[in-house]
């Protein structure tokens, strides 16, 4: 079942951070415009990342960074094998063969 659903052709799910931090309302329900929604969402993300100062003083850079991070994650396919290990592997201290 895993292999049927977690394949290379599977579209990348929406950004994890957005799933966690997206506002729980829609524009039509609040009367706010979508750009206001986006600004609130971006501010939430910035605050969650501890970037309150950057949000206040360098807002354009923060907005650009949020957009860039969303784009990055779509650039590569996810491994098909759910057991595929990340690189570098964890090695217990004392197993000296380097990080790879």
């Amino acid at each position: 079942m895993w292999r049927q659903t977690w394949g290379r052709s599977r579209p990348v799910p929406p950004p994890l951070l957005l799933r966690h931090h997206a506002p729980r309302f829609r524009s039509g329900e609040t009367g706010m415009s979508s750009s206001e929604d986006e600004a609130r969402e971006a501010e939430s993300l910035a605050r969650a990342a501890g970037l309150t100062k950057a949000w206040a003083e360098h807002r354009a850079a923060v907005l650009e960074a949020i957009a860039a991070a969303r784009k990055f994650r779509d650039g590569f396919v996810r491994p098909a094998d759910p057991a595929a290990e990340p690189m570098p592997s964890y090695r217990v201290p004392g197993t000296q063969e380097g990080a790879r």
Binding site: F76, V77, A99
Partner: protein, 468 residues
Amino acid sequence: MSAAAPSDLHELTLTEAAALVRDKRLSPVEYLRALRARAAALEPKLNAFIRPLWDEAEAAAREAEAEIARSGPRSPLHGLPVGLKDIIDLAGHPTTCHSKILLDNVKQEDAAVVARLRAAGAVFPGKLATHEFAIGGPTFELPFPPARNPWNPAHHPGGSSSGSGTAVAARMLPAALGTDTGGSVRNPATQCGIVGMKPTYGLVSRRGVFPLSFTLDHVGPMTRTVADNALLLNAMAGYDPLDPGSVERPAEDYTRDLGGGLKGLRIGFVRHFHETDTPATPEVAAALEEAARLLAREGAVVRDITLPKLGEFAAVNRVILTSEAAAVHEPWLRERPGDYAPLTLRRLLPGMFVGGVDYVQAQRRRRELVAAVEAAFREVDLLLCASSMDPASRIDDEAETERTYPRQARTPFNVTGHPAISVMCGLSTGGLPIGMQFVGPSWSEALLYRAAAGYERAAGWVERRPAL
């Protein structure tokens, strides 16, 4: 007594200078003074040095000269100068990372690689310009100006080891160290027409080098010739138990196969990188094709080979690099965002928004990308591919620099950790260098030097120099 006239000493390669010092026909002090005079003449327009240390280096060269007179050289580097990118620690001096944030960051110990060079007798005439924290540049909004390209100072020299590329290409120094996380040794090597090696991950210690991305960072030698590069790597390489990524291996002489030639080498040409993945400008594509033809004429067996697409390597690199860099910079990004140059801030901030799942997915995909490149090495001895897809843009053309900077084929081998060397393979119509890469299996640096030296001899680009 010197073999070369004092006014020409700056033209000596590291190998030539080493031989003359060994034979007591060149004074290390005299050599250093010639380079200092060269730098004094060129620095006002090139900005390679952040912190010149000529007096300190001359004192060390004088001691070296006395020791050589007494008992001969400790190594081929004894008394010879090596420049240091200013993210590499030199005891008693700040490692500023070209940033306002670390202007007073005085270090008490040498980086491990500097300690190795010092033990070999090298001297250190200066800390060299970089992009801010090896990621933010070129930009004019930093405490020091950006280095410029010796072939045309209106253009950037590549980065982030920009001062290293500039100083070596301009013959202010015969050798320098750079670091390479997404191509930052090989980019200035390409754009400045010199030789830059990113060794296998784990061959050269990173201890005492300010991190950009722990699993992608490499320290590499930058020189004018392939032989010089191998000579410098001989002194740099070695196991460091205090660098968690360092690998213990037998010492090698990387110069041993320099004369081996190209005959019989099986070379896989990764044409799709520059033909379809990120199409190169026509003159870069033509230079690569001509290089492949020359390699074949010299007896190599050149065939096309296919790797995963360039864009995927780049995406994996970006996710890992920005995440790890954000971990390094998190306190400053939160408390001192205004102390970075705007460009640096823009490049570092995305890592604060990359999720943990995406980071791990990138590291999982990384293992598959490594396997794909390893599979290629079961069919060929080496890979040949593009380095930059464009000649260096004008340094004041922010939009063009932003457009062309990511158009490159170096990040795949930061992702995989395989060794890769950039050598010059042409000149653009605008008179700027074009470079290409040879890439080999892990720990195949000697083979890469053999191929690069064979190409260097056959192609003759090494004889070309910037008109300064």
